[in-house]
């Protein structure tokens, strides 16, 4: 099917074996262009990235106007807190301990926060509905039964702990930890951050009071929204580190153009066949 990684017709071999003198080992540099990510995955990935940063910046701005957190229904400058962030505030009545007040930026922050939320929710809906029907969820995200064994999971974890570079096979398909992380972000953290966000809307909860009552109150919803956002930021940091370790340029290329230049599969065969085989090749990492 179209979304599967596959060696495309445009694979090409650079260099000619016949041109090489016989004394030189016949190692042929081969570049194989393969498709990796579908248009849907790439477009939704980058729209989500853009919205994520917009939500993060505007969310931080809104928190700065009241960097105090509570549990239950209510909380304000006159009530005890659950915890406070040790930062200055953009409102002068908030008791922060700082002698200065930051400029008010809640107007555009709230506009931007809700606009980015709309775009990312609609993008997320398109993504989730698509992957439910095109097989991507089943084939590329849900781990197979064998992958879910402790042995398989611990292999991946010990590989990470030993700082092994990801194997080339992982350029083609997600390992079990990646699959579980992506599933957790898509089906747990994103729904939770949307839910806790909507639970703060006085109009929304007038129509759906259970949205806030189940969370234990409006201030609880706000505090949970903050922690789920932190979890998403943590995922982003790990995601960037992993992309960096796997090869920043090749992974960025895959997510932008949809293709990867690789050839280790043939190279792997070359090592077993040994030098002098016409199929052998060294790979250029790009």
């Amino acid at each position: 099917m179209w979304y599967h990684s596959r060696v495309s017709d445009s694979a090409y071999i650079a260099g000619g074996a016949s041109a090489l003198p016989a004394a030189v080992p016949t190692v042929i540099p081969t570049k194989t262009v393969t498709s990796r990510h579908s248009v849907l995955v790439r477009v939704t990935h980058w729209i989500t990235t853009l919205c994520f940063f917009a939500l993060l910046v505007s969310g931080a701005e809104i928190v700065i106007s009241h960097p105090r957190f509570y549990w239950g229904e209510t909380g304000n400058d006159l009530t005890p807190t659950l915890f406070k962030l040790p930062i200055p505030a953009s409102r002068n009545l908030v008791p922060t301990g700082y002698k200065f007040t930051l400029p008010d930026a809640n107007g555009w922050s709230r506009y931007l926060h809700f606009q980015a939320a709309w775009v990312v929710i609609l993008t997320g809906l398109l993504y989730v509905i698509s992957i439910l029907f095109n097989g991507y969820l089943r084939n590329d995200l849900l781990p197979s039964k064998s992958d879910l064994s402790w042995r398989a999971v611990s292999t991946v974890i010990s590989g990470h702990l030993r700082f092994h570079r990801p194997s080339e096979a992982e350029a083609w398909s997600y390992n079990v930890l990646q699959r579980l992380s992506y599933l957790f972000v898509i089906f747990v953290l994103f729904p939770l951050v949307i839910w806790t966000g909507l639970a703060m809307s006085p109009a929304f909860v007038s129509a759906v009071p259970a949205a806030v009552n189940l969370l234990g109150g409006q201030q609880s919803a706000r505090t949970l929204h903050f922690f789920v956002s932190l979890a998403l930021v943590l995922f982003l940091l790990v995601h960037i580190v992993m992309v960096w370790r796997a090869g920043f340029r090749s992974r960025m290329r895959a997510m932008i153009t949809g293709t990867m230049i690789t050839g280790t599969m043939i190279a792997g065969r070359a090592t077993t066949l040994g030098e002098g085989t016409t199929a052998s090749a060294t790979m250029e990492r790009t």
Binding site: G75, N76, G107, L112, F114, W118, M200, A203, V205, Q218
Partner: protein, 252 residues
């Protein structure tokens, strides 16, 4: 290759045309059913319109959550108020006996009410939360007359679409649509937690709108105009908040 391109081109073309036509129809319908907020222009217009339209469809008749008496906050935070004007101090020294709340615009019988007149109408209470857009909140018992009662007294004309309301504080005014104006929990509030509404909380008269955040709950209310268009008011954005960069609709 060229066959695929042609087919793709045709389907993409059809999809784009259908999409554009769909958007056009959606915009027309949204305009017709009053789902487009006055601050729909500009770079945040899309999100603002989606929020207002979806919440208006979802919440036209829904009631804000009401709480039990035991949940009333011990320490309601009054927030900052401007230093009162001389006019306010004069009215305050007379215990607000001369305070007037006037209603005009698209009404059959424009009128001006004293606080005593407002208090002579059936008094209602609600125990609801006041939420500030900054993130803090408190619960209080609010006592007043539903705005819909006063609008019935003056006789709102059928073409009315918004009410614009003004504070005695300079440059403090907001507006709401008729769904919010006629909503049973939209109060002209003169009492709080069993007593008079304290000045810090907007006394003697505050518009209470529990389904929208604090800044739409204007304090020191003196005047209200019923209108079919917000164009003639200020920059046409429907309030001091949208003119200052804050959203007109604040249900979120």
């Amino acid at each position: 290759m060229s066959k695929i391109s042609r087919r793709k081109l045709i389907t993409t073309g059809i999809a784009a045309t259908a999409g554009a036509a769909g958007l056009g129809v959606a915009a027309r319908l949204a305009q017709k059913y009053g789902l487009v907020p006055p601050d729909h222009g500009g770079i945040y217009g899309l999100g603002e319109t989606l929020t207002y339209a979806s919440q208006r469809l979802l919440t036209r008749h829904s009631l804000a959550r009401e709480f039990s008496r035991s949940q009333i906050s011990d320490r309601p935070f009054p927030n900052e108020v401007e230093t009162p004007s001389d006019e306010f101090k004069r009215l305050q020294s007379g215990r607000f006996a001369d305070w007037r709340f006037s209603v005009n615009g698209m009404v059959a019988r424009p009128a001006s009410f004293s606080l005593d007149q407002l208090k002579s109408y059936p008094s209602h209470t609600q125990i609801t939360m006041l939420q500030c857009e900054e993130g803090w909140s408190y619960i209080a018992e609010w006592i007043g007359v539903p705005l819909s009662h006063v609008l019935d007294v003056v006789g709102v004309l059928p073409q009315a679409r918004y009410v614009v309301y003004f504070s005695i504080e300079p440059d403090t005014w907001e507006s709401i649509d008729m769904a919010d104006a006629l909503h049973p929990q939209t109060f002209l509030t003169y009492g709080m937690n069993g007593g008079d509404l304290p000045v810090g909380h907007g006394g003697p008269l505050r518009l209470r709108l529990p389904r929208q955040v604090g800044y739409k709950n204007v304090k020191f209310l003196t005047h209200l105009t019923v209108t079919d268009s917000l164009k003639g008011f200020g920059k046409g954005l429907g309030g001091a908040s949208p003119e200052g960069g804050y959203a007109w609709y604040a249900g979120i």
